[in-house]
Symmetry: C2
Subunit: 204 residues, 2 copies
C-alpha cells in the first residue's frame, strides 16, 4: 500500500487552506491575520495561498460569507415554519442556536465585529424583505402582544442566547466564570431561556 499524501489525508489543498483560514480569521480578525499564519497552519507555502485564492481579501470574503450564513441562516427555517406554534419555536431556536454556538464559540464575536462598516456583504446573502414580514414568528408575536414591537422579543432571545458567547472572553478574564463551568451554564440556559421568554411575553 502506497504511503498516503497529505492531500489524501486532509482533503484537497484548497480546502485545507480554507479551513486554516476559517480558524485564523475567526480567532484574530481580518486585520490581525497574516497570510503566513494561514499558510503555515495549512501546511503549505505562502505562494500557494495566492495561487488558489488570488488575495487575502478574496479568501477572507469567502470565509466571511460562510460564517454569516452559519450565524444567521439557521434562524429563518425555524422562525418561518407556519405549522409550529410560538412556544415550540422559541424552544427550537434557542436549543439549535446554543448547540451551534457551543460548536463555534467565537463565531458571533467574529462576524459582528468584522461587520462594522461593511454594509454590502449581508444584503447579498440574506433575503431581507422576506425576513421581516411574512415570517410567521413575527405574526405570532404580534397576535399575543400587539402593544410591543416583535423585534424586541427577537432581540431578547438573541441577546440572552448569544451574549454569553460574546462576553465569555471578558467574563473569563475577570474570573467570573471558569472556562470549564461555561458549558454547564450554557446548558442550563437552554432550558431556562424559553421559560423566561414565555414569562416576558405575558408580562404587563
Amino acid at each position: 500500500m502506497a504511503k498516503k499524501t497529505k492531500t489524501e489525508i486532509d482533503g484537497s489543498t484548497e480546502e485545507r487552506i480554507k479551513e486554516a483560514a476559517r480558524i485564523v480569521f475567526t480567532q484574530k480578525g481580518y486585520a490581525a491575520t497574516r497570510t503566513r499564519d494561514i499558510a503555515e497552519k495549512a501546511g503549505i507555502n505562502l505562494a500557494l495561498l495566492n495561487y488558489y485564492f488570488r488575495s487575502k481579501e478574496k479568501l477572507f470574503n469567502q470565509v466571511m460569507l460562510e460564517k454569516i450564513q452559519q450565524l444567521f441562516g439557521m434562524l429563518l427555517p425555524v422562525l418561518s415554519d407556519e405549522t409550529t406554534k410560538l412556544e415550540k419555536k422559541i424552544e427550537m431556536v434557542v436549543a439549535n442556536y446554543i448547540d451551534m454556538l457551543l460548536a463555534n464559540p467565537d463565531l458571533p464575536l467574529f462576524v459582528l465585529s468584522e461587520l462594522r462598516g461593511q454594509k454590502e456583504e449581508l444584503q447579498k446573502v440574506l433575503p431581507i424583505e422576506k425576513i421581516i414580514q411574512n415570517i410567521s414568528f413575527i405574526k405570532q408575536l404580534q397576535e399575543k402582544r400587539p402593544d410591543i414591537q416583535p423585534i424586541h422579543f427577537l432581540m431578547n432571545i438573541l441577546g440572552m442566547t448569544v451574549f454569553p458567547f460574546i462576553a465569555m472572553p471578558a467574563f473569563d478574564a475577570v474570573g467570573i466564570i471558569k472556562k470549564n463551568d461555561f458549558e454547564k451554564l450554557i446548558q442550563e440556559r437552554k432550558a431556562l431561556i424559553p421559560i423566561w421568554v414565555k414569562a416576558m411575553i405575558k408580562a404587563k
Copy 2:
C-alpha cells in the same frame, strides 16, 4: 486680541492625540488602526504621536483601560449598594447603562473584541473577588430565586441591554432597523427590560 492657537481651542496636544486615538481605535480596532490615521485626525504629525506616547501599543493600552472602566465600572456602585432594593437596582442599571451606551454605541463591541486573548488587562482594573461575592445584588437574587444561579440573571440583563448595540451594525446592514429608529427602540427598552426581568425572576 491675539489669534488663538489650535491647542488653545481644542485642548492640549496630548489630549487631542488621545481623543483621536479613542475614536479611531474604537471604530477600527487595534490591528486595523494606523498611527498615521490617528495623527491626521489629531491634526498633528506622526512623529509627535510617538513623542508623547512612545508607541502605538502604549497609546492603545491607555485608551483600552479607560474604555474597560467605562464599560464595566458603572456596574459595581449600583449593584453593590446595600440600601437599594432589587427592583430599583434593575431599573437603575438598565437606565444608566442604556444612557451610557447611547453616548458610546461602539464601546461594547470594541472592548469585547479587543479582549480576546488579553487576560491580564482586566484583572488589574477590576477588584474581582469583591464583585462576585459581597455584592448585594447577588444576595438579593439568591434570596428570591435560590434555585437559579444569580449569574444567569446578570447575563440576561446585560444581554438584553448590550446586545442591541453589538448587533446594530449587522441589523442595520440587513435592513431590519433603520439607524434612525434605533434610538427610539432603545428608549422603549429602557422601560421594558426592567418589566421583563422582574417577570423572569418570578417565572417558574
